[in-house]
């Protein structure tokens, strides 16, 4: 089956955040009300009850020119080759035949390995259920013939859903149009990154201007883990489950460049 994906065009997004609310509504996620910190953005990052956020980023390259105010919808990128799936010791993460990377919460044990493996730092630990959550690309809607809640609600047409190849073509045309109309750095994101993402972006500027990793990489240790440790040392897992020191040490090693992660786990 061909891949079905979202195309998100920043040049059409007005940051109304209808998509953010539609996501909470469909997934029945509670509000996580944090005080206003001087930016329209609701949270610094996605969290276990907020699978998608719109980021608001101000730039001023040349004070004589207008400021630019970039908006970008951020959520799981549904990598075509998902590192999270490979590291999951429980096989809780799978990929549908149309490209959604989904989690089986009954299998998830909250070990958070996926959170370290993700190049976009997307999966988030939800303490009250001891699971790790993220955007599901609304596979439960899509498999019933509906479009994802976010794309369904978008008033401007910034978010579309459909066949990846077709959307890729549309994205290429759009980038051409934007380059000819005042955005010389316009580009596609998600076509080649990490071997392709099942979320496509049309950007009006380079990815760094949208807080996206310019050249996302799966952390080296993860590659080591998924290619070597996991297949041969499957016995590590029961140990980890027991909440042993091994788990603690592995977790720290894997934390690598990501720094702090949510506390808790499988105590």
């Amino acid at each position: 089956m061909a891949n079905l994906t979202n195309l998100y065009d920043v040049s059409k997004c007005t940051a109304c955040r209808g998509c953010q609310v539609a996501c909470k509504d469909w997934n029945q996620l509670p509000a996580v009300i944090e005080p206003f910190r001087g930016n329209y953005q609701t949270h610094e990052d996605t969290n276990a009850d907020t699978y998608t956020i719109i980021k608001f980023i101000e730039h001023e390259d040349d004070p004589a020119e207008d400021v630019t105010w970039n908006f970008i919808k951020y959520q799981c990128m549904h990598c075509l080759d998902p590192a999270c799936m490979k590291v999951c010791p429980q096989g809780a993460i799978s990929q549908t035949n149309w490209g959604a990377v989904i989690k089986d919460y009954d299998k998830c044990i909250g070990c958070q390995y996926c959170t370290y493996a993700c190049p976009f730092e997307i999966p988030k630990y939800r303490k009250r259920d001891d699971i790790v959550t993220k955007c599901t690309l609304c596979y439960d809607r899509v498999e019933e013939g509906l479009t994802p809640a976010c794309a369904r609600t978008c008033p401007t047409g910034a978010l579309q859903f459909g066949d990846r190849d077709e959307l890729l073509e549309r994205a290429q045309d759009r980038v051409k149009f934007l380059r000819a109309n005042g955005f010389p750095n316009a580009t596609i994101y998600g076509k080649l990154e990490l071997g392709g993402l099942n979320k496509l972006y049309v950007l009006t500027d380079t990815p760094d201007k949208f807080d996206l990793p310019v050249n996302p990489k799966v952390p080296g240790q993860i590659t080591f883990w998924q290619n070597w440790v996991q297949p041969y040392f499957g016995w590590l897992i029961p140990l980890a489950l027991a909440g042993s020191a091994v788990s603690f040490v592995t977790t720290r090693i894997l934390a690598g460049k990501h720094g702090e992660h949510a506390e808790g786990g499988h105590e």
């Binding site: 955040r17 509504d25 009300i33 005080p35 206003f36 329209y40 101000e58 105010w69």
Partner: protein, 804 residues
């Protein structure tokens, strides 16, 4: 809107000014985005700060709040001097060719006929020159020094680019870019649309601001055409409907003036004084007589006219005036219905004190609002101990408050009229929660109860109630179809309803027809028993073009729109004087040799040929048949720049300190720049709605915008030692509030007369109830209104700010 939402896709250029369309009317950007993609349209945004709308626009130009007329005036001058106007359109469809009497004059910000004591004008001084038999004298060359076009040129001579930019603070290059881009729509092959909202109207010169948009659109030939128009984006789903239905004190349903006791003692006197000699309003007596019949079906209109309440002549009953009256204990009781003035009203501290002077108040709303709980401890909490209005403790407030829970739009059926005048029926989705009820049911039961109390009375003064015709079925749920049928109108036979009328052209002034609101006549033209008899229920989403033309997004069989399902009003202007479309691809209506046909309902005599007398009188509602570049607003025939009531600078165009015709309610509360040097303004965000009652109670929406914040420039923040995210206090002569600082590159100090003038903006959605709470920004705003409508000047006032 003269046009409608979908029509935005037909534009070549959109000027968004006084509106944050992307944030507050997200759907507008669906269509504007389409215009940009398919037609290469340009989007221009003029706003004191860089908003989400600016982020999606091609050109952004800042301006200081309250200087729109200066901005427009410079555009007029440039367009006239460079002959960029649509000459043929201006000549035939506007009053640019009319000669004005020489009693018209202008000096130092004042037109002739000004009475400083009354703060008003003798508008007869501005009359047009007429011949002995009452015809307007015109100069079709538009060269006569007293023709409107030349007077316009003369008036705006002073508005050169440098002067304008000194006033507005707009960088010159940006200003020129805006003018040139928008003026390009003067090309007959192009159209431009203006989108505005409360950023335009909420000023002491609000009406003149809108007037200046109308003038610009007439000059460029953009009215009545697909992709054009002056488009008011209504801030609430049914603002258009409620205005059509006499939300405002000065009008009856359908924009008929409310009668005044001395001026209009009888129906005959009303008709004589209010009916023009020419133009479609000659039918006014039919509309009023039919409305009276719909209220009192058994009485002659001459008699039932006495039942209508009359205003005291010249007295103002607008929002500010009413609250001033409550404050002065002239009003005892108040029914406050879906309104939350201690969050949304200007000078909210005073309005709260005014409520405390009432004997009783009935609040009808979905939730307990700040207003319905104005007497509570939390309502009396303040950011500082400055207390301008001596707000008391709960125990000192004697007002008896009743609360009636209303249900929301999904819990009831009925129509709303959107900004494009589309009357769209909505079906009920679920049952109301608890004891809550539809507004209509509350009104219905209230009326039935009142009628019951008066039953059997034979006193003549009780007749307005005992005779009131109220036949909407039995029980607590009024029959919506019966109401809609009465709105549409029917024949009256022996004091009883007869057949439906087709539309308002069938209404009579002799008491043989009844019609609730003439502009809605035609929405229910026949009763056959089908749901779609009520045309607002139609849902045909095909945009079928007229033979041989391209579709223009009219969707004529989707719902219904007033008047008579006409999607773009004044659409005679969409064709040349000879009756051909200006642009083939966007043909609205055109003359086919026998009649007017096309993709819309003609706003013109269906068979009146272009060559007939009056065949180019495109503005059928106007006595002169043309659009008004020159008109009679209270301030004068041409908008002149006046500074806001509270301004940090003096006016460099004239020596008037503010709009010469506005009423000053509280001269002692006028803030001065020595103490309050910063311009304050209020606005909304996508995530909250109006006074926040419906959104602050919703956790998911509260999460999106959890606190009241104040946007300010990095420069101002630095001067005041404020960091992003700090709590700050904002002060005006009316009160103080607390807010969180949003220090941003998107707000820049304005360069006015060579010095930096700071402006800040506060969200006005907040109050003490709900998941997202904060101080109401309107504790800062003044009790001063526009010179025509009295809309409060929420958008430009003076304040200061400090760290909390």
């Amino acid at each position: 809107m003269t046009n409608h939402w979908i029509d935005l896709k037909n534009t070549d250029c959109a000027l968004i000014m006084g509106s944050n369309a992307a944030e507050n009317h997200p759907i507008s950007f669906k269509w504007l985005t389409e215009a940009r993609d398919k037609r290469g349209a340009k989007i221009i945004n003029v706003d004191p700060r860089f908003t989400r709308t600016s982020a999606r626009s091609d050109i952004y130009a800042p301006l200081r709040s309250g200087t729109d007329i200066a901005f427009m005036g410079g555009m007029f001058k440039y367009i006239l001097e460079n002959k960029l106007y649509h000459e043929e359109y201006v000549k035939y469809y506007t009053n640019a060719t009319f000669l004005v009497k020489d009693s018209f004059d202008f000096e130092d910000g004042l037109f002739s006929g000004y009475d400083p004591n009354k703060r008003s004008y003798d508008t007869n001084k501005w009359a047009f020159e007429t011949t002995e038999d009452g015809q307007y004298v015109k100069d079709m060359t538009m060269e006569h020094p007293r023709c409107v076009l030349q007077l316009l040129k003369k008036h705006y001579e002073r508005y050169d680019i440098d002067t304008v930019c000194k006033i507005t603070g707009t960088p010159k290059n940006k200003y020129l870019q805006v003018i040139k881009t928008y003026a390009a729509t003067g090309d007959p092959a192009k159209t431009g649309t203006i989108l505005y909202a409360m950023g335009t109207t909420q000023h002491t010169v609000g009406t003149e601001n809108v007037r200046s948009f109308a003038m610009l659109q007439l000059l460029l030939g953009n009215i009545g055409r697909a992709g054009g128009g002056v488009n008011a984006l209504r801030g609430e789903s049914n603002v258009q409907g409620s205005t059509d239905w006499a939300l405002l004190f000065h009008i009856l349903p359908g924009y008929l003036a409310t009668p005044e006791a001395q001026k209009h003692p009888t129906l005959a006197a009303y008709n004589q004084k209010e009916t023009p000699k020419t133009g479609y309003w000659v039918n006014k007596p039919k509309f009023l007589a039919s409305m009276l019949k719909s209220y009192w079906i058994k009485d002659d209109p001459e008699k039932s006219y006495y039942y209508l309440p009359k205003r005291i002549d010249g007295k103002n009953y607008s929002h500010i005036a009413m609250f001033e009256a409550m404050y002065n204990k002239e009003i005892e009781g108040l029914i406050i219905w879906g309104s939350n003035p201690i969050v949304g009203g200007p000078n909210a501290n005073k309005e709260q004190a005014a409520l405390a002077n009432l004997k009783w108040m009935v609040a009808v709303d979905l939730w307990q609002t700040e207003t319905s709980e104005f007497w509570s401890y939390k309502a009396l909490d303040r950011a500082t101990d400055k207390d301008e209005y001596k707000i008391k403790k709960p125990k000192d407030i004697q007002t008896e408050v009743f609360f009636l829970p209303a249900c929301n739009s999904y819990e009831k059926a009925g129509s709303v009229s959107n900004s494009g005048r589309w009357m769209q029926y909505r079906w009920q989705a679920c049952n109301p929660v608890g004891e809550s009820r539809a507004d209509l049911e509350i009104a219905h039961e209230l009326t039935l109860k009142i009628k019951e109390l008066y039953q059997g009375s034979s006193k003549p003064q009780d007749e307005p109630i005992t005779h009131l015709y109220w036949d909407y079925g039995h029980g607590a749920h009024p029959d919506l179809d019966k109401i809609a049928q009465e709105i549409n109108g029917f024949e009256v036979i022996n004091g009883k309803p007869g057949a439906q009328v087709a539309n308002f052209t069938k209404l009579k002034d002799d008491g043989t027809t009844a019609c609730g609101n003439w502009i809605y006549s035609g929405c229910y033209p026949a009763v056959t028993g089908k749901p779609e008899d009520y045309l607002a229920r139609r849902r045909d989403n095909r945009d079928v073009p007229y033979e041989g033309t391209k579709p223009i997004g009219s969707y004529l069989n989707w719902s219904w729109c007033w008047p008579i399902n006409r999607r773009i009003i004044y659409n005679r202007c969409s064709a040349t004087p000879e009756g051909k479309p200006w642009v083939e691809d966007l043909a609205s209506i055109f003359w086919n040799g026998e009649k007017w046909v096309g993709n819309d309902i003609p706003d013109f005599g269906a068979t009146k040929a272009p060559s007939d007398p009056g065949g180019t009188d495109a503005f059928i509602m106007r006595p002169e048949g043309v659009g008004c570049i020159y008109s009679k607003c209270n301030e004068g025939p041409f908008p002149e720049h006046y500074e806001p009531w509270e301004s940090p600078v003096a006016n460099i165009l004239n020596s008037q300190s503010f709009n010469p015709v506005v009423v000053e309610w509280e001269p002692d509360k006028r803030g001065t720049p020595d103490k309050y040097p910063i311009i304050g303004t209020t606005y909304r965000v996508s995530e909250h709605w109006q006074s926040g009652v419906m959104t602050r109670m919703q956790p998911w929406l509260a999460e999106l915008m959890p606190d009241v914040f104040v946007e300010m420039s990095e420069e101002l923040a630095k001067e005041k030692g404020i960091r992003n995210g700090d709590n700050v206090i904002i002060m005006s002569t009316r009160g103080d509030i607390k807010a969180v600082a949003c220090v941003t590159k998107r707000f820049k100090p304005h360069n006015v007369h060579g010095k930096h003038v700071h402006q800040i903006g506060v969200l006005w959605h907040f109050g003490f109830n709900g998941y997202a709470t904060g101080d109401p920004a309107n504790r800062l705003t003044p009790h001063i209104g526009d010179g025509n409508t009295m809309i409060p000047e929420y958008k430009a006032w003076l304040c200061d700010v400090r760290r909390a």
